[in-house]
Subunit: 336 residues, 2 copies
Amino acid sequence: MNIQSKGYALKQRPAGTPTLDCFELKTEIISEINDGQIIIKNLWLSVDPYMRGRMSDAESYVPPFQLGEIMQGSAIGEVIESKHPEFNVGDKVNSMLGWREYAVSNGEMVQKLPETSLPEQSFLGVAGMPGLTAWVGLNIIAELKEGETVLVSAASGAVGSLVCQFAKLKGCRVIGNAGSTEKVEWLKSLGVDAVINYKDYRNAAELEAALAEHCPNGVDVCYENVGGDHLEAALNLLNRYGRMAVCGMIDLYNLADAKAGPNNLANIVKKSLKIQGFIVSDHWEHYPNYVAQLSQWAAEGKVHWKETTRHGIESTPEAFLGLFKGENIGKMLIQL
Amino acid sequence: MNIQSKGYALKQRPAGTPTLDCFELKTEIISEINDGQIIIKNLWLSVDPYMRGRMSDAESYVPPFQLGEIMQGSAIGEVIESKHPEFNVGDKVNSMLGWREYAVSNGEMVQKLPETSLPEQSFLGVAGMPGLTAWVGLNIIAELKEGETVLVSAASGAVGSLVCQFAKLKGCRVIGNAGSTEKVEWLKSLGVDAVINYKDYRNAAELEAALAEHCPNGVDVCYENVGGDHLEAALNLLNRYGRMAVCGMIDLYNLADAKAGPNNLANIVKKSLKIQGFIVSDHWEHYPNYVAQLSQWAAEGKVHWKETTRHGIESTPEAFLGLFKGENIGKMLIQL
């Protein structure tokens, strides 16, 4: 048996925004596997903004991708051969062995999908890392309470769109910002109280003024995915004892040079703010409860999500680059 | 009975660093008091950096000083006349009726000093607001644990010098920065593991490099009093899950224009940092325990403090301005 498996390696580290020539398509040949191993045929690959960090060799919470090696990322696949006692052919699994068509594994860090009525690719999005990220940031990090006002940046993304809905389900007022008319309309259709298109505003002051119109009682919780002007506006809008869960700063990921931060950090003292970054992998203990709650909400029609799907392994780099151009509504996926 | 009481009113709001012409000496005449009132003769006045905020009319956690009215601040005084059932002539009291020689009060917000062996003026410093600020920031906000490494900015100030000592008493490694050789030497004599003079460094990068030499295992907790370059250096030095208690940003208090923030806020995400501002008045429930603990430490010679004392009501504005020039070691006081 010989399987030809295409996958993408990191060819060079990007300076600034990644480009297609950072990636190199490689073909691996998979033949015999040993006792204790399985072969996974990937069905769905995930690309996520955090991967930009792993393309650099700076110290971070996850180790950098190695040059010349196939990259990693979440993927949903099917076991097509097994010499491992815990996996059977036909099992659907979630692994970090993405950016490739097939993978050999000893089963470590490979999870069988739980029994739910959720579609398999949702375990890369709403029922996976982005979903739990939304839930943990809002409830554990930002300690959201019923009836509070929540501000969400990158509100139409895989994480942001769930943050908006989870906050609404908790009886909160939710204000989102997103980057296109289509995204704004979709979020409004989900019941988000107010949504602005940040591209209509030239700087932090204009953005703040636009958001302020929709926050007559200020903001109690900010779910921050972006940084930059959004962060600066949020610091001014937050109420005393406001909390900011910092999930990402996509604005900063592609900067070759450091960019000055917001000029209003004194708000942290003036208003006794809490600003906290987090990484979802520190909070997986909430995952079983989260998936149970999500399945129920989904069955009741209370949570909705969108997917932006590209097709074929060759579409993976462009799908990833599209994240930084705002090409996705909801989760960006590659179907193989 | 007619008492002439001199005090300082706010004459004009400062743009940038306050100057002497922001203050106006006024004389009030105190004559008869009514039932339920007391007359306090102030013995010690406190000036503190946070008062700069009250000189502006921007929204803050404490209301602004009113133009033309005698300013407020902590003071230790003696009751010299009482028509109030709970106060007797001779009682030593702590009040917010500072910036003046005498005050009339109905007893609200006036506390009798607890019975301790601590000197009366210490209730403006180590046994008062600055002391509790140090303790709360370190233990409640930054959740300091034994054996961690702590970085303290403005380490020789009324708050900072206690932060250093409380952290040492908890078995931590402590690195301070201060602004003169004398301050550095004093902190070293208190057992602080390493102290740098921040005036020897021209920017955040140099400051960071100097501090890094003394933090081989990084920094777990930063007690931030300054902002600016100190904050930027600290964000780079903090370890994963680091906590920053933001007590003040004295660097920013006197800026007429907003100043760009640190360029490395992405560390908040990368390292899952918690950055939290606080105001000690939200944490007074810890005060009785704190004073009990402090009294014991002081009796055992485990906590030391310095006072920088000016004399006479007329010295009050200059004492206050001196805070921003680093003229104080430990608590800045005015003895009347």
